[in-house]
């Protein structure tokens, strides 16, 4: 039985190493968000010298400036207002990502059904045009997008972001939904057609209810991508009216007035929505992929 033991040992060792690799930076974020700045900057390192604090979180939500010198740090007495924009930025990201999700539900399922079931001219080229369009690197599209948005007068609006993110997420949604719709037994739809349903009615009454898990999965996936997007958020938004979370966090992190503890606290807050969503997204995604017969 020594062989079995060896395998077990390797398995658990691998699991432990993997856990450490994944969690190390996140643990540091969480820890430094509740450490006084003075402890973080201490050399030789002694993180728990001055105990734990929650002033950073308090400042972000209430605006109450930390008073103790331990928190603000010896060198950095200034504190930036920018961090207080984080909750608003979460809201902005949420609005945009939610709207993109709705567009994906609507436009995505409408387009996927014909690709899955109907016969029409130039079907394959159009399908490839749509699904492959996403593979062009976004930096290549940055200048034209910026100029188009500028010409339309949509700089610094949610609309611009919603449109761009919809374009970026739709190809994937359409690909997955097409695969999923094709996996639904045809007989059910044929029955509906015999009852006089046209394709649109069949989609709404039969296919969408059956494909609900996959629809939710792709919708949430689009939500996550929009919530995470950085480059266009950086280019299109100019004020806190529309600035999204990744953009605010990146600028906060480069701001010399913001202590690392405060940056950590804002990151920890910003990650909460993503962490809540990750498990359902993944469950639905994997289900959709496997059932769709990609593999």
């Amino acid at each position: 039985m020594t062989r079995g033991w060896g395998i077990k040992l390797v398995t658990y060792l691998g699991a432990i190493l993997l856990t450490m690799f994944i969690l190390a930076p996140l643990a540091w974020i969480f820890l430094s968000s509740i450490l006084p700045e003075a402890s973080i900057l201490l050399f030789p390192p002694d993180w728990f010298q001055y105990g734990l604090i929650y002033d950073n979180y308090n400042y972000i939500f209430t605006g109450q400036v930390p008073q103790t010198p331990l928190v603000t740090g010896a060198l950095r007495t200034m504190i930036s207002q920018e961090v207080r924009l984080v909750p608003r930025a979460i809201l902005n990201s949420f609005i945009v990502a939610f709207a993109v999700m709705l567009v994906n539900f609507l436009v995505g399922s409408l387009a996927a059904y014909p690709f899955a079931r109907l016969r029409f001219a130039a079907k394959t080229p159009i399908f490839f045009l749509i699904t492959m369009s996403r593979l062009i690197p976004t930096v290549a599209l940055a200048i034209p997008y910026y100029l188009i948005v500028q010409k339309l007068g949509l700089i610094d609006t949610h609309w611009a972001l919603i449109t761009i993110y919809s374009v970026l997420t739709l190809p994937f949604t359409i690909l997955i939904l097409t695969l999923y719709f094709r996996g639904i037994p045809k007989e059910i739809e044929e029955a509906a057609q015999l009852d006089g349903c046209d394709p649109f009615q069949t989609l709404v009454r039969i296919v969408v209810p059956l494909a609900l898990p996959s629809l939710i999965g792709t919708g949430l996936f689009a939500f996550m991508l929009s919530y995470s997007e950085f480059l266009f958020g950086l280019l299109i938004t100019q004020s806190i009216k529309t600035r999204t979370l990744p953009v605010i966090l990146a600028t906060v992190s480069w701001n010399p007035d913001v202590t690392w503890g405060l940056t950590s606290a804002s990151i920890a807050i910003g990650l909460i929505p993503t962490l809540i969503l990750v498990v359902p997204v993944w469950r639905f995604m994997v289900k959709g992929l496997v059932a769709g017969g990609v593999y």
Partner: protein, 304 residues
Amino acid sequence: MVARERLRRLTRSIRFSAYWMIAPAVLLVVAFTLYPYIYAIWSSIRVTSPLLPPAFAGLKNYEAVITSIYFLRSVKRTLIFTAASVPITVLLGLLTASLLNRRFIGDIALRALVLLPWAIPISISGVIWRGFFNGGWGALNALLYMAGIIPKYIGWLTTPNLATLVVITVQVWTQFPFATVLILAAMQAIPEELYEAAAIDGAGLLQRFFYVTLPSIRAMLAIVIIFEVLMGLTAFDLTYALTGGGPGTATTLISYFTYAESFKMLNFGNGAALAVILAAVSLIMILAILQLIPKGALIGGEEG
């Protein structure tokens, strides 16, 4: 006769349905992919500096870009970055998928945990790791020092070669979860009988991996590799947030270079030329993907 006429009308109405149903998606994609792309090509052959009047530039922008030493350096860096991060990402994904494909105590918790790096926006991952690797007070320095491994702190992000290693490490951290899940999905689709047959033939664990698992997931591996190559060639958020392209230009990859050329130097013409080059390289990769994916797998010929 009447029946045939009805049938014809029915097929025509179905075809019409197909067109209006795909119209919104097609319009969006054409308006925001084809048009901007043509626009990028157009501005890449023009002078579009804020200081100069617009004029035709021919291939001068391309010439200026390709002969620039900064361009060549960023290309070289991008190639090194991609060549290093892709194999590590795929290998780690393969190992992690093999691990998660086994039953052990805490396996479900680990499955959820593996998703974490994927779920975090890459730009934020960059910030998180910047704090972890910080040369003055970062956790890694502190931990290594406390363990007595290093006598004094190391400037992970301020030493060019180390910064390159850090960027590769973080790229792997952000990318391997996706690779893992795709590979795991492929592994779980392998019929159990194959393993049983191999076991009866006396194949050990490693043999089963090399003769059953690996051949069965070959197609998925190819997809993962090419996807990761694309992610490597076009990585932008990561270096923006982690190193800002520095120290100096040590981690300025081609995407970041394109961005800086367009939006920091405000040289849209050069930026567009760079973007077109980048897109062309990526398109070649896309064609490679299409070669590898069996045609019928994506869109059914008969059913459609």
